[in-house]
């Protein structure tokens, strides 16, 4: 089993993506014997009603007949009416987890921060509660493009370590997939929480793991059992993460399989 926990279908408004369908991802995955990909529809970041994107992905899944097994995540916008009903329905229809996009849907992971100060409920917290009730993981992607290249119409901020800490420390029973986060910068702010919690996972998309010193530092902060293969396909070239997994001092075979545990598919 070889699991990629960080993949998307859909369109990015600021540049043309290729391989951005399930068939396209399947083509990329099959070349390297990747058996499973956790996938969400990135259109859900931009549609006013994110669930329309989940339904698009559902239709694409119904028509798909490739070899790679896709593990679908529903993008949930807790600021939009009816989100809870939609989220429950997507799990009933076979989706395996929720994805939060706080920078695009304009709320914060922490109840203390500006966006949520005047909200009667902690919106990210409400999604976490639902995930806990349904026993599904929650995925949060730090960023889709490097901050130096983002369009003026895109969000300028990445999700901070402080915000993550505020959320994760409160909902300890929810499995969290934190994708495209820097294993050095952001994880450092989470402190001992990562080591204390076996259900917080990261991926390989950020970090120069071929450098032994960087690899050592990352592993001092994140146990290897909690690092999964992730490619951020189709935004990125998948080969970079294969090199990080197989040529660095990481245990490549373990990294390839860790995603199965994170996604609850073993």
């Amino acid at each position: 089993m070889f699991v990629d926990i960080n993949a998307y279908v859909g369109h990015w408004p600021f540049r043309k993506l290729v391989f951005n369908t399930l068939s396209g991802l399947d083509e990329l995955a099959r070349e390297y014997d990747i058996t499973h990909m956790a996938v969400a529809n990135v259109n859900g970041l931009f549609y006013k009603d994110a669930n329309v994107a989940n339904l698009e992905l559902l239709r694409e899944l119904e028509e798909y007949n490739g070899a790679t097994k896709f593990v679908p995540f529903a993008i949930v916008n807790p600021t939009y009416p009816g989100w809870e009903k939609d989220a429950r329905e997507m799990i009933e229809k076979g989706f395996c987890g929720f994805e939060l996009a706080p920078r695009y849907h304009k709320y914060s992971l922490s109840p203390e921060m500006l966006y949520d100060m005047y909200s009667p409920v902690h919106r990210a917290g409400a999604v976490m509660q639902l995930a806990e009730e349904l026993g599904v993981p929650v995925r949060i992607c730090a960023s889709f493009e490097n901050f130096r290249q983002r369009s003026d119409l895109d969000t300028p901020d990445n999700i901070s370590g402080d915000e993550l800490f505020a959320l994760l420390s409160k909902y300890e029973n929810v499995t969290a997939l934190l994708t495209s986060f820097s294993l050095l910068a952001v994880v450092g702010k989470l402190g001992d929480l990562v080591k204390a919690r076996k259900n917080i996972y990261f991926d390989t998309t950020q970090g120069g793991m071929l450098d032994r010193a960087i690899c050592r530092l990352a592993l001092s902060r994140v146990p290897q059992e909690q690092i999964c293969f992730g490619s951020l396909s189709p935004f990125n070239y998948i080969e970079t993460n294969l090199l990080r997994t197989q040529l660095s001092d990481l245990d490549g075979e373990m990294i390839k399989k860790n995603g199965a545990k994170a996604l609850g598919i073993i």
């Binding site: 290729v18 901050f147 130096r148 010193a213 070239y237 970079t240 090199l243």
Partner: protein, 272 residues
């Protein structure tokens, strides 16, 4: 397929990395040997044969001549530590025109450096560069310019004079006999940068940098041709080796980029 099988193209063909750095102590006086050895170990791991390196001085304050001279001596330490593998590029601050021109001559004629590396001290099309460019034309050496079209505010503040593709194109049209390299096209707004230099045959680019967006390489080859693209990593080997391996371009184009065929003459001359 195992990614190591794909890596054979690096192992079986000449590979020159044209945009590299070996770091110094904070005073730009001494090579950090342990870090340099680790960098060379990584290059060996991924099959890089030759490394072209410089030590630009990362400061928004003016870089005094004694500092850039010292930085170039550090690069020369690396050249001597890894003979036949590492080649030098001279960094100069063009505001000190007389000293900068003299330093380029020293580095090329005495130390055997193969080109110059410019930082974000001025835009590439600023007239201050005229004597520098003319000296490079005279010595027939390439000008590698740190470049990116930055979109984020912190970098706009930190690097207010960072060159982008438009500045490169302006300079190239003014000096068609010069050889320019727009550094790390893959970083920041890369489609903008490529489009700006598309019609300037004397502007080459390198594919170094930590950003590995698909389909950067396919786009660059389509717009510029493989002959105008140089391999490099800027200390991000996994990102750069990965984007070349993953690119849906021909094997011949990959080999052209890896070998840096258009730039072979600069290395051959240094080896004599």
């Amino acid at each position: 397929m195992d990614i190591r099988e794909k890596l054979e193209i690096f192992m079986e063909n000449p590979v020159v990395a044209w945009h590299e750095h070996f770091w110094s102590t904070g005073d730009f006086k001494t090579l950090r040997v342990e870090s340099a050895d680790e960098t060379m170990r990584m290059f060996e791991l991924v099959g890089v044969d030759k490394v072209v390196a410089s030590l630009p001085v990362n400061t928004i304050k003016r870089c005094e001549p004694e500092v850039f001279i010292s930085a170039n001596n550090v690069t020369n330490e690396a050249v001597k530590r890894y003979p036949g593998k590492v080649y030098g590029m001279a960094y100069v601050h063009p505001g000190y025109v007389k000293e900068a021109v003299a330093e380029i001559e020293r580095c090329v004629l005495e130390l055997g450096f193969v080109g110059i590396k410019l930082y974000y001290d001025y835009f590439m099309d600023d007239p201050v560069y005229a004597p520098i460019i003319e000296k490079c034309i005279e010595l027939d050496i390439p000008i590698l310019q740190h470049s990116m079209h930055v979109m984020d505010e912190p970098n706009k503040v930190r690097q207010p004079l960072v060159t982008d593709g438009v500045h490169m194109a302006n300079a190239a049209r003014r000096y068609p006999e010069a050889t320019f390299v727009m550094g790390h096209f893959t970083v920041a707004e890369w489609e903008y940068s490529l489009k700006a230099i598309e019609d300037c045959p004397n502007v080459y680019t390198d594919m170094s940098g930590s950003v590995y967006d698909r389909p950067q390489m396919e786009t660059a080859v389509r717009m510029l041709g493989a002959e105008r693209i140089l391999f490099g990593t800027d200390n991000s080997p996994s990102a750069c080796v990965g984007k070349l391996l993953g690119a849906r371009i021909s094997e011949e184009d990959k080999k052209t980029i890896l070998a840096g065929r258009a730039f072979n003459r600069f290395l051959e001359r240094a080896g004599r």
